[in-house]
Symmetry: C2
Subunit: 135 residues, 2 copies
């Protein structure tokens, strides 16, 4: 794939927002959710976006670049995620043309959709609860 | 009131946790909610605890001390809250024995219970949603 295609794809795809929020009467009910494992954060918004980008680009370095994240940081996140998951969510291949690549395992695909589904319901929760903010 | 009474009262009262969280299978679904106004944060967990303590102690300085917060910071929070609220949530009196005091207005009492009610439902949301974390 050429970079132009990536950009086009990126700009047209739907993204989950960093924070959930819902506004009413000048007040905004904000929120954030994340999943912790035994070493601290396991999956949060930023990590799930990284997984989505790895799926999209097939490469950790390209996924990192698309997020203005250093390769080193992306690798640390991938390592933290795989280390805490029951089964690895990202698998990498070395060698071959272009130096190998990375992709989500079936467990990784499921983790992304699980987080996104919970996040959608969280945003609905905020939209409903902001109506109770009468302050 | 004597400080001993304050301490007794503090240790026996129920508190809302800083973060909501719910645990399952080694994973914990964590979350945080807050209300923003035109200047940024209007009410979050820490600010609501400060309001509770002001109600309890009748004094901003004693409320601040009970939270290991500087008097200056507590005053800045009170100012930020009152400035962004439609009606003041905290009112202060100067003079008199002990140099005046502070208390919550009816709008302040309502704001505290509103936030707490939303927070209780948020914790229930997390407890329900953690059951969907099958990763």
């Amino acid at each position: 794939m050429k970079r132009e295609n990536h950009k086009l794809h990126l700009s047209s795809r739907e993204r989950i927002p960093a924070d959930g929020s819902a506004r009413k009467d000048g007040y905004e009910l904000m929120g954030r959710i994340w999943i912790e494992g035994r070493d601290g954060t396991f999956l949060g918004y930023g990590r799930v976006v990284l997984l989505e980008r790895i799926k999209e680009y097939g490469s950790i370095s390209e996924a990192a670049r698309s997020m203005d994240m250093s390769y080193r940081h992306a690798w640390e996140l991938v390592d933290s995620i795989n280390r805490q998951a029951k089964k690895p969510l990202i698998e990498t291949a070395t060698g071959g043309k272009g130096g190998g690549g990375a992709r989500l395992t079936p467990a990784g695909e499921k983790a992304v959709s699980t987080f996104q589904d919970i996040h959608v319901r969280f945003r609905k929760f905020l939209e409903k609860e902001v109506l109770n903010v009468k302050i």
